[in-house]
């Protein structure tokens, strides 16, 4: 068992990062800056891209630090990450693409 002797400071560091990102997201969601809302990129508002990027950063911190995947063996990391990294974007591509062509004009 890899029982590190390091203290708890890293846990609180990750906590503050996650909290800060969440607070930033909520502030953006309430203020809705017009240049982020009115700019459309790849079929959706720019603000949604910002939300998605921030969410992926949060997810990376949770997986790497809290779930400790960053400290596992390289082979284990890829065994766990690859299926998700291949299948999830594929699923999203198929469904969102089909969603676009079933789009019903009101």
């Amino acid at each position: 068992m890899a029982s590190e002797t390091k203290g708890n400071w890293w846990i609180w560091k990750v906590f503050w990062i996650l909290l800060f990102i969440t607070a930033f997201e909520v502030a953006l969601g309430i203020i809705k800056p017009s240049f982020l809302v009115d700019t459309i990129l790849l079929g959706t508002k720019l603000i949604n891209h910002v939300f998605i990027i921030l969410t992926i950063i949060k997810a990376a911190y949770i997986i790497n630090q809290f779930m400790h995947l960053g400290h596992e063996k390289v082979t284990l990391k890829w065994t766990i990450l690859l299926p998700a990294l291949i299948l999830v974007p594929y699923l999203l591509f198929i469904l969102l693409n089909e969603g676009l062509y079933t789009y019903l004009k009101i």
């Binding site: 969601g29 596992e72 082979t75 969603g99």
Partner: protein, 305 residues
């Protein structure tokens, strides 16, 4: 026959994987938890992708999340996002207490593991309570809506600002009574109160006269609250996804709380102390962080985007 069985039993009692045989340098149990979490990742991805599909199919009439989730317990007025932000904070906080429990487990400090595990359970319970409040509010409804034959839910407005069916009918939606209105009653009220009008499903505001004409031609029923068949917020699929995705996530949190209670009892009994390691806490911790991870995505795609 018995000898064969005995031999098998003896074999089974040996540790299946020892040092050299651990290709991933992780125990069997931890690896299987990870594999389960991968399958669960794909399940939740499918739910959220399906949600995205429906949203891309009905982009003009899909409800704005900030019009739907705009309330905070004990506070009046509109507070979009604040309550879900609090729920997110509670879940992140409970993830932190979970890591602390795992960390003290590595150091074999039983009392600290008990403390932080208990706090994690409290966090999980508060989250579940918040979700129950959120569901209650969602089911009861807030502003009411009027369904049309094409399932385009329209809302009562005052000028260019959303109002509610209750305001139009001069009632209090939260007085505890069961309200029911017909389309004719709403149209009569619109005729009597010309300051009210409607916002169509595609967020276009109509004038009072146009609103009355539109409702006479299209309206099918007045919707108050939400169920699986229809809801006051917008397209029926919106409530279906809400109940299904947050419900499935809530079920995960609930299962997590049960697992945490079981391992807390084991920690108190000293089971892991005798076993020589607190790996079970670590495995349940993985599950608990995963539940937090899923919520991060649900928060983004259901409430923010």
């Amino acid at each position: 026959m018995d000898e064969v069985l005995d031999e098998a039993l003896v074999k089974d009692h040996k540790p299946a994987w020892k040092g050299g045989d651990q290709p991933y340098e992780a125990s069997y149990g931890k690896l299987m938890m990870w594999f389960f979490l991968i399958t669960d990742t794909l399940t939740f991805s499918a739910f959220l992708a399906a949600y995205g599909f429906s949203r891309f199919k009905y982009p003009d009439i899909w409800p704005n999340p900030e019009d739907v989730f705009s309330h905070f317990p004990f506070l009046h007025g509109e507070h979009p996002l604040l309550f879900v932000a609090l729920m997110t904070f509670i879940l992140i906080m409970s993830s932190v207490t979970m890591v602390l429990a795992v960390n003290y487990g590595h150091k074999m400090q039983k009392k600290k593991v008990i403390l932080w595990l208990s706090l994690t359970i409290v966090g999980g319970a508060i989250f579940l309570g918040s979700q129950a409040w959120e569901w209650g509010h969602f089911i009861h409804g807030d502003k009411g809506g009027i369904n049309t034959q094409t399932e385009h839910v329209v809302h009562i407005a005052e000028g260019e600002k959303l109002s509610s069916v209750y305001a139009l009918m001069g009632a209090d939606g939260h007085d505890g009574n069961h309200h029911h209105y017909t389309v004719d009653q709403v149209i009569t009220s619109l005729e009597a109160n010309p300051q009210y009008n409607i916002r169509k499903a595609n967020r276009m505001y109509l004038t009072n006269e146009d609103a009355i004409t539109y409702l006479r031609e299209n309206a099918s029923e007045v919707l108050l609250g939400a169920n699986l068949k229809n809801n006051e917020y917008g397209h029926p699929l919106f409530a279906d996804y809400f109940f299904f995705i947050t419900g499935f996530h809530g079920f995960h949190v609930f299962s997590g709380v049960i697992l945490l209670i079981i391992i807390l009892i084991n920690v108190i009994k000293g089971t892991y102390e005798r076993r020589g390691h607190y790996e079970m806490v670590e495995k349940v911790g993985l599950y608990w962080h995963f539940v937090d991870l899923v919520w991060v995505f649900v928060f983004t795609f259901f409430y923010l985007v």
